[in-house]
Amino acid sequence: MLRLACVLLLVALPASAQDAKKEIQKYQQMIAEGSPVELFELGGEEWWKKPQGPANVSLEKCDLGMGPGVLKGAYARLPRYFKDADRVMDLESRLVHCMETLQGRSRKEATARVFGNAEQPSELEYLSAYIAGQSRGVKMAPGTSHPKEKQTFELGRQLFFHRAGPWDFSCASCHGEEGKRIRMQDLPVLSQPAAARPIVATWPAYRVSNSQFKTMQWRINDCYRQMRMPEPVFISEATVAVAMFLTATGKGEPYRGPGTKR
């Protein structure tokens, strides 16, 4: 599928970059219209309601910040500080927290397979699609007032600009200057609200090029992979901080995801 999409894209590419951009926009619109995002949302609802773990209960009483079981608009308020865990959590962190505290599952078991593939998406990917979908139309407003939320934002900001690894890359190496692209892929300047807003309003997202549903945790993970860095630990403070920096920078736009990406 990946190969096929690439080949189609290349064949369709006309000579000038301007024409190519138009073709890509057309292609993106086409794939958005045929996106299977809804299927992932339906699959996520099943996972949400499925009794699991030693406690053999579902996640339906999970408190994503708006009260136990309240899903409407919950995703749009994340990441935020949670008093019961005394830390700032993004959606994936909070879901794992509920798997541990409600279902009695171990961290190891709950996070054994966090990123799925086209044949078998992960539980967390399905759940993310379902829960994010319940925030459609709600303005993105992550927590920005608690001291720990401010700390997390500041750590994320610093990580965003921090160069490291054998290629000396930071997030800003690719997402730091306006109007730039890798190959034909436009690169949003994610430290600027105008560029961050449409991104924040559409993740998590279905990715057509590999037929997979992708979470923000995956996006951050794969960026660090391409930066030639070691792997960021799933839902670690560093990853939540980067997610917080991006989300708080791009807050204010009504959520219209889960999106569909190339």
Binding site: L10, L13, P14, A15, S16, A17, A20, L155, Q158, L159, F161, H162, R163, A164, G165, P166, W167, D168, F169, S173, C174, E177, G179, K180, R181, I182, R183, M184, Q185, L187, Y224, R225, Q226, R228, M229, P230, E231, P232, V233, S236, E237, A238, T239
Partner: protein, 194 residues
Amino acid sequence: MTRLLLCLLFSCVTAAAAADEIDKVLKRDFQARGQATMDRVVPDALQRVCNETDNRPPAELAKTLEADQMRTIAFPAGSLVGDWKRGEATAQGGRGLTWTDKAGVPGDGSCYNCHQLSPRESSYGTLGPSLYRFGALRGNGPEMQKYVYGKIYNAKAYNLCSQMPRLGYSGTLTDEQIKDLVGLLLDPASPVNQ
């Protein structure tokens, strides 16, 4: 004046403290995977300076550290101009050094990710300058060959906080691959110079 100095000193101290803090976070929240081992988050002198000065190092310090980087480049004896056809393949590829790449296999240059080169390739990035007609415009004599080889081997020897990876120094490309890229940029027969 004293005040200015104090401010400068203060901002340097806080920048260094912030960088130390980030290094601790990276050690705590990252893990080795495949060939991407944890020594990769230990900063070298150059990374420290670029991070602490927001990529604007004081000129004198930059000069000293650039000279250090220049000493990392071992210019091979003989011609530096390799086969532009192999160079084009290296420029097209984007593999190497990630935790999903096989260790010990030579990487690619990832050149088209950021630069325009051959006019036959319309899918090129713009993070770096266009290199189309590089040799035709800038010449291809021994000095230019040496410059291009050195720049690809270790871009930081020429511009301390350049965004370009140190492709030879980091072990991404072999000497032979870099020579082939010199060929791609400088050989009059290369499509880059057509």
